[in-house]
Point group: C2
Chain length 200, copies 2
């Protein structure tokens, strides 16, 4: 467990903010230093290079996301309520994470995924939980890879692309906000119905 000093925390917070909004190529070391309230020289004192600082941020954000994706508490609740709660919570967490940052940087440099491969296997818990239910006859068989991707897509994309959706649908701010508040429940309904019926 790495114990971060106070200035290191300040720097990482600042860097995260800047990298997430501007991307690697758009971020400036001076801007990060300003945001952290220190000099650019100090910034280099703590983190040798831009690349080095970026790696810290990317790795942290990536593992945050992987953890989010792989979290699945196997309590005794019925799968239907479990899935519904999970989706609502998942949607909320996605709003606070900069998924676009991850996808954009990976697109710019695909090696980011290969080199820093994490030991976590996000598939495991979520998918195997449902596959287990299906194998024991407690649920109709469905392709859980499909459900996994459906759930992620339905939760993540409207957040990534919110601005264009609002433009496309022509909704005003208030209507769109109301719409997005109800949205996770709608997603849950769809997926639960698909699972009840059995998909593909």
């Amino acid at each position: 467990m790495s114990t971060l000093t106070e200035p290191e925390k300040k720097i990482l917070d600042a860097a995260k903010k800047v990298f997430e909004t501007q991307g690697y190529t758009g971020s400036r070391m001076q801007q990060i230093a300003d945001e952290a309230g220190i000099s650019k020289a100090s910034l280099h004192y703590y983190f040798r290079s831009k690349e080095n600082l970026f790696e810290h941020i990317f790795d942290e954000t990536m593992s945050d996301f992987m953890e989010l994706v792989s979290t699945w508490n196997d309590d005794s609740e019925h799968w239907e309520n479990k899935l519904r709660h999970f989706i609502v919570q998942f949607f909320d967490l996605l709003k606070t994470k900069s998924l676009l940052f991850l996808i954009g940087e990976i697109n710019r440099n695909p090696e980011l995924l290969l080199s820093r491969r994490k030991k976590t296997k996000p598939k495991a818990k979520f998918i195997s939980y449902f596959e287990n239910l299906q194998e024991t006859g407690k649920m109709k068989p469905s392709n859980m890879y499909v459900i996994f991707i459906f759930m992620h897509s339905l939760c993540a994309y409207p957040i990534l692309n919110a601005r264009m959706f609002q433009l496309s649908t022509g909704m005003n701010n208030h209507d769109f906000e109301v719409f997005m508040n109800n949205y996770p429940e709608t997603v849950a309904d769809l997926l639960i119905n698909a699972l009840k019926k059995g998909l593909k």
Copy 2:
């Protein structure tokens, strides 16, 4: 209709390629010039500035996307087949368009959406087609905004985030390719079933 000269086409092709992979801040005028096979000075002769060149590319990509989103031919086919064909075609087209570029640049500079607002109303055709069917009792009522967003999310996100999905699910290249080939049909099934049943 703007008639583009030969060198202008070459430049725009090169710029598109570079901007789409590197983003605005990551792109270099020299790289675009090299890609187009001309000198950097010539590049500036045709397009005064990086900003100017970027606007051409962004506007073109944006209107391509908006056109794609708003296309909906109202022939006599049954809505079920119509939707299925549309989704398969939509998915294919999305693979060729750099949606990530659009989303990323809009995120970097939200004013891109406001200033260059297009007259197209993408909502219109797709949504009103189905709302019309519902009003005339030929289909159970559904919230077509939801269907609209579901369809986009299910088609776009797996393409945007393909690399991370492959990593998450642990599939090898071949399995993942097969999976993605069948995927659009699965999306169509889900949405058609939802519409048959009536959603929300």
